[in-house]
């Protein structure tokens, strides 16, 4: 009888979750019962051996990239499940997985039998390599998925959607199918992409270092051995590097390696046969105000048409997208609309309670040819014109953290080298798994990494440590907290402090005027 009762707790025993009271009784019983002792030993043996079974490494970079592509896609075109879909999902629908599978199978078949692009212009020569053979292409030649193109002299090819890709001499690209569009894989050299409006799906340019996704814009991508570089001539691109995403607007550029020379965008594109046109476009758009500067209504650009409808405050679902010439905000609180218009964080907007309690849906169309960079400025104008919003900027000290050296001194050792090897990665976390971080870089980078871990509060570096450091840190779950791990393992601590943050103070806002 006692055996059967105590055996119910064997599962707790192997998981080390045995209540203390049962533990004493079990220990006593085991001294008397050989059968239970043998069974428990055998169970524990298997349980421990299970812990030694390995799992092959996943393709983490590819998983990250796919996730971010899906997230970006959803941001631009949110498709919440309908009631019918929710029911269907509960019943076990598999449409999205099937799609992934079909696309994977499509990839595995090799190059597409359907031409995806056409050679438009050739200055020198353009060569195509597939299946071990190489041939020279003339203007008008079709290009299929999976074929590698190498330019000797300049060349331009046109995609089926009307986008143009100009290759610099000695550049190498391959066209690939992406889950939701087309990917140009740039292996070396430079391309300037004049992307057509992507009605459905996306166009990507991928190098070994990052992925650039666009909806409709003009930009340059350069891939070198030391790193990759992107420069935006018109519009807006999204750059995904590892787990970091950033948005670049007209005239902005980014490199993955500090050793890459950064020159003005106009210089970067000087090799292009369209250089003069691109520079003219760039000059014209440089006057576009940045998102952070609110425009006086008298000079700010305005939407051609804008419809504003009351939303449903009880419905938690909502979404927004900024695609070429159109802004759609579905069931967004006034606060979220302001956040989107000014490109600030939620906590940087201060105002009356109605900012949170009132929701609206807005569909607005900009004049033809309006660059994406202007859409947010237009949304600011709409708030001023239709909601009679009055806003002022104010800098306030807010609670944040200062990273300082603890009383016992730093426990991390300075390493040599330059910032080319800087990196950081986080894994695990939450209530079930401990978090672990591997970091290489200066303290100025570490504080940026720590901010999301402390509720996105500002973290400033006051360590006085000027070198570069490399370490691994584990915390959370049943282990030490982040603060304790920082202090015990690194000799650093986070001290509460006041940091300056700019706020938008909404002094007046009212219900929108009639459509």
């Amino acid at each position: 009888m006692q055996c059967n009762e105590l055996r119910k707790h064997f599962a707790d025993y192997v998981k080390e979750q045995l209540p203390a009271a049962v533990q004493t009784r079990l220990a006593q019983h085991l001294t008397e019962c050989g059968s239970c002792t043998a069974e428990l030993d055998a169970l524990t043996d298997v349980w421990v051996k299970l812990g030694t079974l390995p799992v092959p490494e996943a393709a983490v970079a590819a998983m990250n990239s796919r996730f971010h592509e899906a997230l970006e896609d959803y941001r631009r075109n949110p498709k919440p499940a309908s009631r019918a879909e929710i029911w269907y999902w509960a019943a076990g629908a598999a449409a999205s997985v099937l799609l992934v599978f079909l696309v994977s199978m499509y990839f595995l078949r090799g190059p597409s039998q359907v031409s995806t692009a056409t050679v438009a212009e050739v200055d020198g020569a353009i060569y195509r390599t597939w299946g071990g053979t190489t041939d020279r292409l003339e203007a008008g030649a079709p290009i299929k998925l999976g074929e590698e193109l190498r330019s000797e002299g300049g060349a331009v090819f046109a995609l089926a959607d009307g986008s143009l890709v100009e290759m610099r001499s000695k550049s190498v690209v391959t066209l690939e199918s992406a889950i939701d569009g087309l990917r140009i894989r740039l292996k070396q050299g430079s391309v300037i992409v004049t992307a057509a409006k992507q009605r459905e799906g996306h166009l990507y340019v991928q190098t070994k270092d990052f992925t650039v996704s666009v909806v409709g814009t003009v930009f340059l991508v350069n891939a070198e051995e030391s790193g990759s570089h992107v420069a935006v001539i018109e519009g807006e691109v999204h750059v995904l590097q590892g787990e970091t995403a950033q948005t670049l607007l007209s005239g902005e550029q980014a490199s993955t390696a500090p050793t890459m020379a950064v020159r003005p965008v106009a210089e970067e594109i000087s090799w292009s046969r369209q250089a003069m046109e691109h520079v003219a476009l760039l000059t014209q758009l440089q006057g576009v105000p940045t998102l952070a500067v609110p425009q006086p209504p008298s000079v700010a650009p305005a939407f051609e048409v804008a419809a504003i409808l009351p939303g449903d405050p009880d419905n938690p679902l909502g979404g927004y997208r900024f695609v070429t010439e159109t802004v759609t905000l579905h069931n967004q609180s006034l606060k979220n609309i302001i956040v989107q218009a000014y490109g600030v964080k939620d906590h940087q907007v201060i105002g009356p309670d109605t900012l949170a309690s009132e929701k609206y849906s807005i569909t607005a169309r900009a004049p033809s040819g309006t660059p994406n960079a202007q859409l947010r400025s237009m949304l600011q104008s709409l708030l001023v014109d239709r909601f009679k919003m009055v806003v002022r900027r104010e800098t306030r000290g807010v609670p944040g953290f200062a990273l300082v050296v603890s009383d016992s001194g730093p426990k991390i050792k300075e390493i040599g080298g330059d910032s080319s090897s800087d990196s950081s990665s986080w894994q695990g976390g939450g209530t079930v798994f401990p978090s672990s971080m591997e970091f290489t870089g200066p303290m100025s980078s570490l504080v940026k990494e720590l901010s999301p871990k402390v509720g996105n509060q500002s973290v400033v570096d006051r360590t006085g440590l000027t070198g570069r450091y490399s370490f691994a840190l584990t915390y959370g779950s049943a282990g030490p907290s982040l603060a304790t791990a920082l202090e015990n393992e690194l000799g650093l601590k986070l001290e509460p402090t006041s940091t300056p943050v700019e706020f938008l103070v909404i002094e007046h806002i009212e219900k929108p005027s009639e459509n």
């Binding site: 707790d12 051996k49 590819a62 498709k79 598999a94 939450g430």
Partner: protein, 198 residues
């Protein structure tokens, strides 16, 4: 004080439109989910696809999440549905680890490799467990889920979970020992055949 974002508060933020927070949840659960699917299916590519599918579904069904639900339980429920759907449509046999069906298939001689041979047999035994028992064991052993959460996930009593985990380990041990015995008897036969006659 440091503010620690719980899984639940992150998911509520995602539900209400702050999609940046999903990146934190992805960062937290990418590896555990991959581990779960790969141990369950033995197929690396399918496991990567399934992790992606889980997060696409979280986005799509974010409106159905309620604060009263533990996020981890809700997520694994989505994961179980995704896996069931996937294998209704596809065949994805184990492809990650060589899985000998018995010790006789292990050709590696030498005591120094005994442990790796034992691991291969145990892996094989795990894949021969009934699907439900394998799932339970993986959640309890590798995902370190509390029995209470597993009970919530399987919609059964906590006591029933403990009993089933106990049985699953026993069943695994039995299969494992059978595989070892097959190997031993085969090795013995083989040794007898190769002994020199005097």
């Amino acid at each position: 004080m440091l503010r620690e974002w719980t899984d639940e508060s992150l998911m509520v933020a995602v539900r209400e439109g702050d999609l940046d927070r999903l990146e934190i949840l992805f960062e937290r659960y990418r590896d555990p989910l991959y581990d779960f699917f790969s141990r369950l299916t033995g197929n690396r590519v399918a496991s990567e696809d399934l992790v992606q599918d889980v997060f696409v579904r979280i986005l799509k069904y974010r409106g159905t999440y309620r604060e009263s639900n533990r996020f981890v339980t809700w997520m694994y429920q989505i994961g179980r549905n995704a896996r069931a759907d996937y294998f209704r449509k596809h065949t994805a046999p184990p492809d990650m680890i060589p899985l000998p069906t018995s010790a006789k298939d292990l050709k590696t001689p030498g005591r120094q490799l005994e442990e790796s041979e034992e691991r291969a047999l145990l892996q094989s035994a795990l894949m021969q467990l009934s699907e439900t028992n394998r799932e339970l064991l993986i959640l309890a052993r590798y995902q370190e889920m509390k029995y209470e959460d597993i009970a919530d996930l399987f919609k059964i009593e906590v006591g029933a979970v403990k009993t089933r985990v106990h049985r699953a380990v026993n069943e695994l041990r039995e299969i494992f020992m059978n595989l070892q015995n097959k190997g031993s008897s085969c090795s013995a036969t083989s040794s007898e055949n190769t002994l020199p006659t005097t």
